[in-house]
């Protein structure tokens, strides 16, 4: 069953795209992340041009993070103060990211930049997640107590000025590192077509020592805001947002997420992190293989009119 995408100007299989939405939604619900790092490569794999894929995944993530963020909001787990400081960096990062995206598109180096960012970022983050969760599982097996929050430990950035107190997160920290984290998430999000939850949540937990549930809730809040902005900016700057593709992905995503949340609650936290680590590393490896193997067709042809 095919449906024509009016902006991307190509027909796609409706059930295939809906299925992708459900599958990625399931994973995003399970791990409490947006799932953009899976959705963007999958869309490219089924024949959606990278520029279209990157520009359409944000609206899908806005829909699923809206759904998730509302649930956390009702439980009062979103740290609005922390979210707003992250957002101030995130909005600038997103705007700069969309701008860099359109330059890369004109230079013909978008695919390379997206590919390299995937390999480097996902490789590092996935690697850290894997080692950390394997250690936690080994510790649990040996029966030694889990490492708890150490309130006394200070990192170098705790000496920075502009200190703010975030009550929900139980931290007292400078606004500067938080804004920088927000900027990075927004920037890479816009270029790679990801929400950045899998980057932000570990950063908040391990660097800022924010409680896990507050990290997840605040990350969803930030993802929602940056992805809404990315959607509008991609529509203005690159004219590549396809409302039909976006709607199919959103519907699949929010349905899949509901089942994912239930599946996630049935698995122990460190096992869940191990699975997520494997998934992230797997995607990084897959993209890396594509970058180094000899392409079937060395030439690509694009219409110059699509680049403005």
């Amino acid at each position: 069953m095919s449906i024509y995408l009016p902006i991307a100007e190509l027909p796609v299989n409706l059930l295939l795209i809906l299925g992708l939405g459900v599958a990625v939604g399931f994973i995003s619900g399970m791990f409490g992340i947006g799932g953009g790092f899976l959705m963007t490569p999958l869309l490219i794999l089924v024949g959606i041009p990278p520029a279209v894929a990157v520009a359409n995944v944000p609206s899908h993530m806005a829909a699923s993070s809206m759904s998730g963020a509302l649930t956390y909001w009702r439980k009062r787990l979103v740290d609005v103060g922390l979210g707003l400081v992250l957002l101030s960096g995130g909005l600038i990062g997103t705007a700069v990211g969309v701008w860099v995206f359109s330059i890369l598109l004109r230079l013909g180096q978008l695919d390379l930049a997206v590919g390299l960012s995937y390999v480097i970022l996902l490789g590092i983050v996935g690697g850290i997640m894997l080692t950390e969760s394997v250690r936690a599982i080994i510790r649990a097996h040996q029966g030694s107590p889990p490492i708890v929050r150490r309130p006394g430990t200070h990192a170098w950035f705790h000496g920075l000025p502009l200190k703010l107190r975030f009550r929900q997160s139980r931290i007292y920290v400078s606004a500067i590192p938080i804004t920088v984290i927000g900027f990075g998430i927004g920037f890479f999000g816009a270029i790679m077509g990801i929400g950045g939850g899998f980057l932000l949540i570990p950063a908040l937990i391990y660097l800022m020592r924010v409680p896990t549930t507050v990290s997840v809730a605040t990350s969803l809040f930030l993802t929602l805001c940056t992805m809404l902005l990315a959607t509008v900016l991609h529509a203005v700057e690159n004219n590549t947002v396809d409302i039909v593709l976006a709607l199919i992905l959103m519907i699949g995503g929010v349905i899949g997420a509901q089942f994912g949340v239930r599946a996630g609650q049935a698995i122990r936290a460190e096992r869940l992190r191990l699975l997520l680590g494997l998934l992230v590393v797997g995607v990084a490896l897959r993209v890396a293989i594509d970058l180094v193997t000899v392409p079937e067709e060395l030439f690509t042809v694009v219409a110059a009119g699509h680049l403005k």
């Binding site: 449906i3 180094v292 392409p295």
Partner: protein, 263 residues
């Protein structure tokens, strides 16, 4: 210099075509028609076929031909500028390196003939009349210069190969069939990714390597209703369109949250 150069180029091509296109005084006339002049793209569009029909009619001064008739049907989509890029290995990674611009070339090109194009006439006649895909000029911008290159040019060869793989360039050496000795038909495949715009349909009648008659008509490929509405909105009102998509995302998330709410 861009628009100016294209204009000059177009003028030169038009002039050249005009000189060579003046049909020789012959006894035959072509009458053609297409199964539909408009290809409408709606939400279930996955490509379609347009059938070109034609008849060969005699003037008063009918002559007896020794050679059989040959027909060439060429369909050319709207002209566009394309960038072709070649990947090269750099530090073990395949990256886009060299690139060329193809200026004002057909975004869609289909050539259907009664028998292989190179058997129809001398190479000179084939080239002048743009019979067959290889005989179409594909002007490239090379540095500050414009010009078509040798047929073996790797970028030209690759451009044709990519376009053919996409189904946007199509050649069928037996694509024109005679239903009666004077009535022929050709089926033109329009793929799902066909660009919108005006398509020129040209029919040529040949016998014994000579052009006897020429007839052109047109097909228009366009989006309709819903598809046209959104394409227009995205192109002309990017900001509002983006806001609408964002609101759609918020609404979908909100509805999903209430539908699946368990607390």
């Amino acid at each position: 210099m861009n628009a100016r150069a294209i204009q000059i180029l177009a003028a030169v091509i038009a002039f050249g075509t005009a000189i060579f296109c003046i049909a020789p005084l012959s006894a035959e006339r072509l009458v053609t028609s297409v199964s539909s002049h408009r290809v409408l793209i709606s939400s279930n569009f996955t490509g379609t076929e347009v059938v070109v029909f034609g008849t060969i009619e005699d003037d008063e001064k009918a002559v007896k031909r020794d050679a059989p008739y040959d027909v060439v049907v060429t369909v050319r989509g709207p002209a566009e500028t394309f960038i072709a890029r070649r990947k090269e290995r750099l530090l073990g990674i395949w990256v886009n390196a060299e690139s060329r611009q193809f200026i004002g070339v057909p975004s869609y090109l289909a050539v259907m003939t009664t028998r292989p194009a190179n058997e129809l006439a001398s190479p000179e006649v084939l080239r002048r009349n743009r019979i067959g895909i290889v005989n179409h000029t594909l002007p490239q911008r090379i540095g500050a210069d414009f010009g078509d290159v040798v047929p073996q040019d790797p970028f030209r060869v690759a451009f044709l190969r990519v376009k053919m793989d996409q189904g946007l360039f199509h050649e069928e050496p037996t694509g024109v069939t005679f239903i009666t000795p004077r009535l022929f038909r050709a089926t033109v495949p329009i793929p799902g990714i066909a660009p919108t715009g005006n398509y020129e349909v040209e029919a040529l009648l040949l016998a014994g390597g000579e052009i006897l008659a020429r007839e052109t008509t047109a097909i228009e490929v366009l989006k309709t209703g819903f598809e046209e509405f959104f394409a227009h909105a995205a192109r002309e009102h990017g900001f509002l369109y983006g806001i609408a998509t964002a609101i759609l995302a918020l609404g979908t998330g909100l509805i999903a949250n209430f539908m699946f709410r368990r607390d």
